[in-house]
Symmetry: C2
Subunit: 621 residues, 2 copies
């Protein structure tokens, strides 16, 4: 923390010293160890008679955030990015990373041992096809590979003339002696007042969906779905309050919930027992085998591991690969969940107003990206309700703002300069709900180009926000509204416009999204982000994000229609708005939103911050 922050935080005596509890700025990778670990892995593979092995950055649930004990890829290679995959062959090893990590990966891994391959150049499958020797055996981890993943590997291995085998035991186990223990954090019940629907009622709805799809059994491999179904929460991974649990739900009968012994205390067990049988996680395979005999079993194509598909097949069951029906049920929030999300956004709105006021009051010169993360988290903690940040805050000053998935580290940390843009994409977990908000701020005097581009992004953001559309419309059909003003000037952004957000769950939730690929129809009760952007490499990044609730609209006409209500409560950056580019309707839309922010958040602020908010939300014209 810089001295400046210490000094200025003295002006905010009601908040503690600025610190980040929920986010690290270190890079933990062990670059030097890579070559030796690779050699040991190869020896372990040779002992098992296989010539190659695939190490994905994945746990058995395909979670976005994985526990430390599942950081196999980081252990082996030193690479700590949130996505990646290493293919180890006898003569070479390739680490595949996406565009976010093409600079970070070579800095973190021993490039004599591992060749870093950008996914944009070659997929793992194409690489295997040309690099796996004919007749060689490639092994994969059946717990950390989905059915689709295996199919892709199988095609590639077949094209190479090799053999693909599942290796149930972990070939890293012998050498990874200081592997952290698996998490087993206490599981807590989610209040019915927040969940809005009893677990038994949810089970009944899931069972009805199974019956309708002619399924006998559902394996719930997505722990977010388990948490939703049984109204439980945990803390087995960062940023998302889930236990790493599994469940089995038959079309009839009692569901089975699998957890680590000790995670469930007697009181929680007493509450769950009327709804489900509770078994230790070690009983999962055996129980699945028992229930799968002769049954059609739905395995979630996005998360279910190959290992459990094999269990179903060996037991004489039929695997039905498809969507977990809970994904759609969970995405449609009920009244209590919506109320919780509103409450979370009000708490968050207060913290955001205080942060933005602080940002405006303290000249940001000299302050760094990490200072901003610490300050924002501290303002959020001040309300006493923050349980986590919903993802590592993206705090990008100047050119770092142009890196879409930028995560600040001590090595990259940058001071905010004068006349720069600062992109801050952050979210919070409260018991009430989950938030995700991006604001792009200006220091000093922003340039014409900055204001122009900000306003184009804002116009797209507003177009999505006011869209009205018939039921059945998908996010893919909404997405172009966000881009049209950029397109007209030969500009665009290379990410989706929005993702689903869970209610006190994951900040990234399917199945609906606002993107070219978002073909799931939007439904009233879904909550998504609305976050168009524009990125000028080496100069600045702009993104404006609010969460929106899908709700019925009644515009007349003959189609039942939907629209969005904005949940996020934070003013736009008026120093960046070029009002001349806005239509009268757009200006009115901004003013109306700002009035809501002022009316809802203002009364909860101290007088100084409230005065700031009044100014920040005053009518544009």
């Amino acid at each position: 923390m810089s001295d400046l922050v210490s000094r200025t935080s003295a002006q905010f005596p009601h908040v503690p010293r600025f610190e980040a509890h929920f986010q690290s700025f270190e890079e933990a990778g062990d670059r030097a160890a890579g070559a030796a670990r690779l050699a040991a892995l190869r020896a372990a593979l040779a002992a098992r008679g296989v010539q190659g092995y695939v190490v994905p950055r994945a746990d058995a649930h395909q979670n976005e955030y994985v526990p430390p004990c599942e950081e196999r890829l980081a252990y082996l290679t030193g690479f700590t990015g949130s996505a990646g995959l290493c293919v180890v062959l006898e003569a070479e090893a390739a680490l595949f990373v996406d565009g976010r990590y093409t600079l970070q990966a070579p800095a973190q891994v021993d490039t004599d041992a591992f060749r870093v391959v950008p996914l944009a150049e070659t997929t793992p499958e194409a690489w295997i096809e040309t690099h796996l020797p004919k007749g060689a055996t490639l092994a994969f981890d059946p717990w950390r590979t989905t059915l689709d993943g295996r199919r892709k590997l199988a095609d590639a291995v077949a094209a190479a003339g090799g053999i693909l085998v599942a290796l149930e035991e972990d070939p890293l186990a012998d050498q990874w002696t200081d592997r952290p223990a698996p998490p087993a954090a206490p599981i807590r019940l989610r209040d019915l007042a927040l969940a809005g629907e009893a677990a038994a009622d949810k089970v009944a709805r899931v069972q009805a969906a199974l019956t309708q799809e002619k399924l006998d059994l559902l394996l719930i491999s997505d722990p977010h779905a388990v948490a939703w179904l049984f109204n439980i929460r945990g803390m087995d991974v960062a940023h998302t309050p889930i236990p790493l649990a599994w469940a089995l739900v038959g079309a009839a009968g009692r569901p089975v919930l699998f957890t680590v012994p000790g995670q469930i205390d007697p009181a929680v067990a007493a509450a769950l027992k009327p709804v489900a049988d509770l078994l230790p996680r070690a009983a999962l395979e055996g129980t699945l085998a028992q229930l799968a005999a002769g049954a059609t079993v739905r395995l979630d194509q996005a998360t279910a591991p190959v290992q459990l598909a094999s269990v179903v097949e060996r037991a004489g069951g039929t695997v039905s690969k498809g969507a977990d029906p809970i994904a759609l049920l969970k995405a449609v929030k009920n009244e209590a969940e919506i109320a919780g999300m509103r409450a979370a956004h009000l708490i968050d709105g207060v913290a955001l107003a205080r942060f933005l006021h602080w940002f405006d009051t303290v000249a940001p010169g000299g302050l760094t990206e990490i200072d901003m993360v610490e300050a924002l988290e501290t303002f959020r903690r001040a309300a006493g309700r923050l349980t986590d940040v919903s993802f590592p805050t993206i705090s990008g000053a100047g050119p770092n703002g142009a890196i879409v998935h930028y995560r600040v580290t001590r090595a990259t940390n940058r001071a905010l300069g004068a006349d720069e843009l600062f992109l801050l994409d952050s979210g919070a977990q409260y018991d009430e709900g989950t938030t995700d908000v991006t604001r792009t701020l200006a220091t000093g005097t922003p340039s014409e180009a900055m204001r122009h581009h900000y306003t184009l992004v804002l116009k797209g953001h507003l177009a999505v926000g006011r869209a009205v559309f018939p039921e059945g419309t998908s996010g893919a059909q909404i997405d172009p509204f966000a881009r049209q003003y950029l397109w007209a000037e030969g500009l665009d952004f290379d990410h989706g416009t929005g993702h689903g957000v869970g209610a006190g769950l994951s900040v990234h939730e399917g199945p609906a999204r606002i993107s070219k690929l978002g073909h799931v129809p939007l439904k009233a009760g879904m909550i998504l982000s609305n976050e168009p952007g524009f990125y000028r490499t080496g100069a600045y990044g702009i993104r404006i994000e609010t969460l929106v609730l899908v709700e019925p609209r009644h515009p007349g006409g003959d189609r039942p229609s939907l629209g969005f209500e904005t949940l996020t409560l934070a003013p736009y950056e008026r120093r960046l708005i070029e009002t001349g580019l806005l239509s009268a309707a757009e200006r009115a839309q901004i003013d109306a939103y700002h009035r809501i922010v002022r009316d809802k958040v203002g009364p909860l602020l101290d007088p100084e911050t409230r005065a700031w908010l009044d100014a920040a939300t005053a009518p544009l014209t």
Copy 2:
């Protein structure tokens, strides 16, 4: 033709008596014969030991327009719609029709013999699943069924516990003694000046595409692709100048073109022989078997018949089901094709101006939908260049305009009333190119609602027309622009916004389209329709359609971009434009388009029509 037309056409002495040469208003179905024909078919099936049979409305190329000898469904059932499928079982027979034909089909078929089933209620596959007796054998026609079609049937039959077999010989052959002969119309060469690329060069491009996709051989089952590749045209079916030809193109070596003997005269043969071997159509299966041995053969998933997939497999070849690479090559028009399409639209623009002038001059009271079709075709023929209409004109007065795929018959023919809307969707085939245009016209004084809805549709049409978007954008991403103003009022239309159009080929051409399902990126040189609509059942229909050419745009910015140039040259109906609903930019866009129409078409008109056009295209404000 009404007397009024005779009288008024005297005012247009330069055109002959109004008549339609290229479109029939009769319904040819033989309702009374259905029961006997069905009985005879069942006897023929019993003699072959099968209990069911599928009769699709399809020929071996899955053509939109089929020759009379392929009208099996109409022969059997009496139903003459352009799409449908009959499943004949021992105890019952079901005729599946889509929403266009749910009224027509019951009127045309003997409903004691055939149960008419709307596709929206039950698919043939779902029906088979529940109606085919366990153990029964269902036969299908392997020449008139695609691989995807067979797969769907196979799944349904398997679910029913039955057996699916291909029946090569036609079980209708014995009874259908007056079946028309297969077409064998002369094949003509398309001038290089119109084609813009020599057949040999096209073959080289197709062979490069095959090599890139690691394919040894391409079966061209789409006759439009054959016509494009060899720069030939025919007249084997209505409305599209194609011969029903097949071709085989290897990744190397000489292609083979299969036609009916006598279709190719010596001069055409001499021109084709440097490019391809010419064989009779009867040699197709044998030649394919020869070339397929050990080869990977691309079969077009949209058109290739099961029969030829079986030939490939029996010959020891591998079927690669996928897109015919010609579809995309053909969709991107070269400079000569674009010039031809422009010329066709100029010819068409003159005919449209004369028709519209006539429509405005002659009070339409008393005139009928058929009168309109006849008048329009006559104005088109007047230039001496019309070879066909590109599809049966949709001429919908008042409530008939709300029937999206309405085709007027003597039975449905309706006189235009006063203060009504009239929807006219038509197209022409000229040697130069193909047109497709819809205008919605008003008689008398249109209502507020009519003007309001027309203007909403026009706003969507204009939004598509002025859209600028980066390369890689698909039609699915453009489609919402057409709907946004209707959506805002709880309205929509239930068809795509646009389809691809061939250059002197089919008026409906893939692979790109502007619709929710149009995921193929648009490319410069593609030509598509832009035709949003609005339909008030029982009252009126509105559709506004022009063809647009995709071309590069240079808006600045950093993305290579595309936009549309409108090819169609016909004024909008200004009596229906509510200028108060238009922005200044929209009014300017209309004025600019009208100026182009006036400048291009005006000089080719007689003074009276030109004066009318000047008024019809005068600035709105």
